[in-house]
């Protein structure tokens, strides 16, 4: 399964929106945090996990999804949210903690929820595994179409919830696909130091489900593999596990000095930045010319600018609204 030209351009555009969005967030995050970096300060306080480098995992999978399909995302959710089609303005506003945010500022960047596109995420690693299985169960029981995608990091794979959810999904043969974004690091701990097998896709066998590995952060390969797995899920053939070799271009969170990373590792990664690689490939393959891609770049930037402006200009929530929405 190869993406059509249209799908390729969609993927490129969403990758760009994600990247531009995070570049904007990165800059704004540091406002008020200089000269002394203090996480509590500035227009965007708290932790900030950027997904720069991991965009292919988002677009290659979500290219196959409808708004009615379900995605449970991780603590590093921006690229996944954008590829799933979340409302970017309200997402930005949520990250700023504004009243117009997806949840009126109650969630923040690790808790983005948009029922319009069935998107949820969480700050606890592997916490989305069970809910994805449950959403898939719901579809099966209701006879409604739809698959669920659970994103998870390669570090989170060693959490018990991973095991339980894969087994449950397989026993009940549910339409769910588990996607491991392997960026080689769980904060400062390398995959080799934390995982007993070199590759996580082999773990699918422990649940009698297909396991796939996509190497080298390749968006087209991700598209192809996810396409197969999602189609199988939609056809009632049950769950699959996809492992994607991707890369973390930034620190674990903003402010992480990454002294634990081997010297030179990041230089190598930057050369393989998926955005520039995809641009070159689109041109080389004759899928687009420079002008088309420039237009996409501009559109992406404009969308991001608009979302950021919306967030900036939105009002803070009423502080006392903190006490609402506990029960509905």
């Amino acid at each position: 399964m190869t993406p059509s030209r249209e799908q390729k351009l969609w993927m490129y555009e969403k990758m760009l929106v994600s990247r531009r969005f995070e570049e904007a967030i990165e800059t704004i995050y540091l406002e008020g945090k200089k000269p002394v970096f203090n996480m509590a300060k500035g227009p965007i306080p708290g932790e900030m996990h950027l997904s720069n480098g991991q965009e292919p995992c988002a677009v290659g999978v979500c290219a196959h999804l409808e708004p009615s399909d379900v995605v449970t995302a991780t603590h590093r959710p921006h690229h996944q949210a954008i590829a799933k089609g979340i409302d970017l303005k309200r997402m930005a506003a949520e990250i700023f903690g504004k009243a117009t945010g997806l949840s009126g500022g109650r969630g923040g960047h690790m808790h983005l929820f948009d029922p319009a596109v069935n998107f949820a995420c969480s700050g606890i690693i592997a916490q989305g595994m069970g809910p994805a299985v449950g959403a898939a169960l719901s579809r099966k029981m209701q006879g409604k179409p739809g698959v669920a995608i659970a994103y998870i990091g390669e570090g989170a794979v060693n959490q018990g919830a991973f095991h339980e959810a894969l087994n449950l999904a397989a026993v009940w043969k549910l339409p769910v696909v588990f996607v491991v974004e392997d960026n080689a690091w769980g904060i400062s701990v390398s995959k080799a130091a934390s995982t007993a097998v070199p590759e996580n896709h082999v773990r699918a066998e422990a649940y009698g489900m297909p396991g796939h590995l996509v190497r080298d952060n390749d968006p087209y390969e991700i598209f192809a593999t996810a396409g197969k797995a999602i189609a199988a899920a939609r056809n009632g053939e049950g769950p699959s596990l996809i492992e994607i070799e991707t890369m973390r271009l930034a620190g674990h969170f903003m402010g992480d000095a990454e002294t634990y990373r081997p010297k030179g590792e990041k230089d190598g990664l930057t050369l393989r930045d998926p955005i520039s690689r995809m641009r070159a490939r689109l041109i080389a393959d004759g899928d687009a010319d420079e002008a088309t891609l420039d237009r996409i770049e501009e559109a992406a930037q404009a969308e991001v600018d608009e979302a950021i402006a919306f967030a900036r200009n939105s009002p803070d929530p009423d502080p006392a609204d903190a006490l609402t929405s506990v029960f509905v």
Partner: protein, 351 residues
Amino acid sequence: MTNTNPARANERKLTIARAMAEATAQQMRLDPTVFVMGEDIGEFGGIYGNTRGLIAEFGAERVRDTPISETAFIGAAVGAAQDGMRPIVELMFVDFFGVCFDAIYNLMAKNTYFAGGSFRVPMVLMTSTGGGYSDGGQHSQCVYGTFAHLPGMKVVAPSNAYDAKGLMTAAIRDDNPVVFMYHKGLQGMGWLGTVPGATNHVPEESYTVEIGKAAIARPGKDVTIVSLGIGVHQALEAAKRVAEHGIDAEVVDLRSLVPLDRETIRASVAKTGRLIVVDEDYHSYGVSGEVIASVVEHDLSVLKAAPVRIAYPDVPIPFARVMEQFCLPNADKIVAAIETMLGRQTVGEPS
């Protein structure tokens, strides 16, 4: 329809187990999105009988035995609830909450808030509590305080079948997560023995008991005994015994820990001037402290005597019968506390 238990000439008595199963079956008939998940809740009918008969009527799709994977299936219930279903999920013993509490307190209880109300999590987590039959320290706890302390989930704990059915119906219909804590000693399972008062009149038709409203299980004027679950029966027994000696105790059955009906507690203590809290959960940082603090922070002047708590001491639950019974609240301890508090003494008992 919200009801309070009517006294009936022609009683239709059910155990709590059967009342829970009846409420569930009625809601399952009405609403195809309601389903049940958990360990041994299918063919077996639930270790504590509260799903008996459901699989025969509704089949294994809607009455699903699960692997022993509490994190996954409770997490799955949350995902299903967010997707339009109304799952009822069982954690067989509340003591097992430690293997899956993230899915409960951090996911089930918080997603509605994190989503600003845009996602709902209409589900019921039912779980058995309590000891007294020597099941050891990992099968006998109540941990009411643990569940009630953390925001985002309603917590109910009925003392009788009438309330159990009404609270269960209310819980299933609630758009929020509700933790339904049923005490093993009240379930009416033959093999466990049961407190007779728990098995009471239950109307056949569907009704709800409002979540968040305490009940006056026995009106009185001299002392207020606040409790929940099995403690209500111990309190009633104690009230009966001291009544023979002219002491008139009021018994408040909390029924819900979240929301906590502080008004009813305060009104009762304002009337009696005395407060005893009976709680099978651990003593410190739990229900008993909360009830006492809720009274005194509101109005110190109502109390004529220092409040007293009769709770489980801060020790893991021992297996040996003599040790466990030593630790558990019971009517004797309540009677003694009442006597001390009122400065009177039951005739014929030693001081």
